[in-house]
Assembly symmetry: C2
Homo-oligomer: 396 residues x 2
Amino acid sequence: MKELKSLTPYREALRLLLEDLSEIPETEEVELGEALGRVLAEDVVSPIDSPPFDRSAVDGYAVRAEDTFQAREYRPVEIKVIDEITAGEASKVKVEPGTAVKLTTGAKIPEGANAVLMQEMAEREGDVIRVLRPVAPGQNVAFAGEDVRKGEVVLRKGQVLRPQDLALLKSLGFKKVEVKRKPRVGIIITGDELVEEFDEEALNSGKIMESNSIMLEGLVKRYFGEPVFYGVLPDDEGVIGETLGKAKEENDLVLITGGSAFGDKDFAHRFVKLLFHGTTIKPGRPMGYGERVFVMSGYPVSAFAQFHLYVKHALAKLTGARDYEVRVKAKLTERVPSQLGRYEFVKVRYENGVARPIKKKGSGIISSVVESNGYIGIPEDSEGYLEGETVEVVLY
Amino acid sequence: MKELKSLTPYREALRLLLEDLSEIPETEEVELGEALGRVLAEDVVSPIDSPPFDRSAVDGYAVRAEDTFQAREYRPVEIKVIDEITAGEASKVKVEPGTAVKLTTGAKIPEGANAVLMQEMAEREGDVIRVLRPVAPGQNVAFAGEDVRKGEVVLRKGQVLRPQDLALLKSLGFKKVEVKRKPRVGIIITGDELVEEFDEEALNSGKIMESNSIMLEGLVKRYFGEPVFYGVLPDDEGVIGETLGKAKEENDLVLITGGSAFGDKDFAHRFVKLLFHGTTIKPGRPMGYGERVFVMSGYPVSAFAQFHLYVKHALAKLTGARDYEVRVKAKLTERVPSQLGRYEFVKVRYENGVARPIKKKGSGIISSVVESNGYIGIPEDSEGYLEGETVEVVLY
């Protein structure tokens, strides 16, 4: 095996690949009901004021505030109730001096009125209310455009759509929304040592159950993409070259695992003009990238780290997704040493402000990933962190 | 409107409803490829050691460590290479004193060998290697069961399945996994004031666009449930009673919005024996719960708070889901006052250790929810938090 001559620093490699990629131009219009988790393709501007009219924030009486200014508990003001409406109705009458309209929360403030007297603050007898205290102009009124003004940007391009975003869109009259096409991500798994069906005998004789495909498919789905699986290939240069060529043509990105090093059976990188091959990340060092192809490790933990450190950001670049990572501050329960010159991907279990490093080592140890729910990235120039130190955890 | 006589404290109301619900017994077996995001129904125990055999952690030569103990750079030890294997292959030979087997990373350690000499540490000439330094027993060997031992619990009941969990299951030979049936959640929206189709004239005359249904559907999906929509109903006691009866029969939970207070048109609670009606949460005070029915507010922000404070936990109870909430510590950018006697649901924008309260007020102001990505819950006995204080944020 040739050694990787120079390792491209993590940030530098990330910059190279992000510069190499550009946002997918294609968008698609989908029904709001289908838009959950999709990436918004453009800023959304409100076509209306919301609420579109001044409305009552309480159950009570729409009045002219001026009519109540003299009201005192010992000298109530009498006002005549001339109409009664509920939310969803508009009164046809105008509130003239000395009159009021009874209404419920959410009902439109009638013409002439400028305040709402809470129901509990009035004594009613027949069609007359006795007002005990003055109300100020605007009191208990929710004004038009208070939530959203016409022309205001309510959602920004790149938003990953959540239930509340869809509710806002619906309340503004939208039925559909323009989202980015999902990037297609070809997944190719290589390695003579892999079996796809569980077979104890094969495993005992040295074979390994293939498990990267389902992990990468799930990760691609979670980060806005559509996985396309090209199967598990033998270490055959011809087969790998042909499949890789096809996958490159049919997808926005290709992930190929196994054969990322320089061994005799490491073929994948021979078909791709790589922008970098070998990076300081640990685990996952022998990764390469070029021509929209990620040449990744066969070891599940390395592939997982490579996905989070590189591929995830590539998918965000392709879709323009914003806020796709949750970063939290946490106190370390113990010391984490790190090798100088390596960007260490340290798996941790984060809970309520505290991060516990997962001790199990080894790039095949997928159970260590399962135990964790986030990672710390320790830069090349750091020898690690001390017990009790506050670090940044990226949750996954 | 009658006032709500007594408000049940938030925690007490939550306890009452969680005690009233029990975990769904039904489970279903699904293919691993369909299991992403589903809730694991039982502990998963590994049927095998993983890896099932001792394997090499590097490319190199499997040797008997004892043979190398005398090796020095100035006095190399010569060892004969008797076989060559790659990952996925097992050697048929036994490593006897003075012999070695060449192998690649992941290959099974041949019988007789107990360590692996890294390729770079040996000088090769023909079928002989010259060993320059001793290797210790076990060096560069990944031992059987190092990742997972046979009989070990690898995933616990209640795990919400992630890509890495599926990879672990696949690597242990599982093709399917037992998950909880998704709870069915009936959603009923009520209110004469609501319109389902955008109609500027209707809105100007006081109507309101219905937007709770899509929000609740999305939230139910996100928290392991299957929403079943029963439509937008008029404020008609008969229609509401009938639909509610049907929805109760057909679902594990029912969410009905609008009419949660005690107004003339608040019908929903008349059909349900409520365990509590009125709680200290703000917004969302007039909520009621009983007989698996949540009588919720029509105001989107109140309904959103009620979902996160109550319904989400109910869905977790029904499915047994664990770790379904991310709680982070954050420094407040400004003071947040809170009313004594109220459990305030304060929307915040969390970013990298800092929480900024979203100022917009009003229970109809859905744009305030959109701006936020989490909440702080301020207990009834607190008057709020100071600028710079560290608080707990629940992300959503």
